[in-house]
């Protein structure tokens, strides 16, 4: 009798519970891949006072960039270890932003949203990434630029990100409205609400 094991879940200490390793880079999107030219691209942070901080593509590239190597974990149970990205830390982007609110909603080109606590995207834990593995970020993986929050399940790392809006509570984003966990910590298996 053949025994179905599912994908090998192994005892690698870098793998959160219920995850398996993949060498490929699966694509999961809630909608069609938007096409955004660098000329039209813009990223903004909007605060409760109505202040909007904006960066054009050229302005983003002119900011200090960081190269980071991180593990990423998709809620559909694949993990990819040691992925290399280049981008701008959200600490840099928030340097001149004055807000008293504790949560952000990330918005993407194409309409996708995901919610995050502000403190989880600061202190070196989140980036606006525009290179993957030394190359410009491919559109199907979120290019020109995506949010990168590797310590949470990867649906939080919004592809095609276009802005963050401060919010006064942890209101749910797209998948969170449809039953997925508000927080999404892979080490605590926060998959579903």
């Amino acid at each position: 009798m053949a025994i179905f094991g599912g994908r090998r879940r192994n005892d690698n200490p870098n793998l959160p519970p219920g995850q398996h390793l993949t060498e490929s880079f699966p694509v999961l999107s809630a909608g069609p891949t938007p096409s955004i030219s660098a000329d039209d691209w813009e990223f903004s942070i909007r605060t409760e006072g109505g202040d909007i901080h904006r960066w054009s593509w050229q302005e983003l590239l002119a900011l200090p960039a960081e190269d980071v190597t991180v593990d990423i974990h998709c809620v559909t149970s694949w993990s990819k270890l040691g992925t290399g990205w280049r981008g701008v830390s959200l600490d840099t982007l928030f340097a001149d932003v004055d807000t008293g609110l504790d949560y952000v909603m990330a918005h993407s080109y194409g309409g996708y949203t995901t919610n995050l606590p502000l403190e989880e995207v600061l202190e070196g834990r989140a980036w606006i990434a525009y290179e993957y593995d030394g190359e410009p970020l491919d559109p199907e993986h979120g290019g020109p630029a995506r949010l990168l929050v590797p310590h949470l399940y990867f649906w939080k790392s919004a592809k095609w990100v276009r802005g963050l809006v401060m919010q006064d509570d942890d209101y749910p984003g797209f998948w969170e409205e449809n039953g997925y966990h508000l927080h999404g910590d892979p080490w605590r298996e926060e998959r579903y609400a």
Binding site: L28, S29, A30, V75, W175, N178, G179, Y180, R191
Partner: protein, 83 residues
């Protein structure tokens, strides 16, 4: 993964639709297009089924399944009875 179409909803939606889901007609509330569910585009698998209008890409309905529970979240879809 590339998108699929509404044929794939036949199983997941079967418990919540009184009749065959893929031949059920609906109208997109954004662009007014009328089509069967089979003709809609489906993104987001295997996290869930994000059902989008074939005409305007607007989200019609989102279906998720876990622990044997199926959730159908209506976004911008008006279901129509059979002709």
């Amino acid at each position: 993964m590339q998108h699929l179409d509404g044929n794939v909803l036949a199983g997941p939606a079967s418990e919540l639709f009184p009749s065959e889901p893929t031949t059920t007609r609906g109208q997109c509330l954004s662009c007014s297009d009328i089509a069967t569910l089979a003709q809609a585009m489906v993104y987001g698998a295997p996290m869930g089924y994000v059902v989008r209008c074939r005409g305007c890409d607007g989200v019609l309905v989102v279906i998720t399944e876990h622990d044997g529970q199926t959730t159908v979240n209506m976004h911008s879809l008006r279901l129509l009875s059979e002709l």
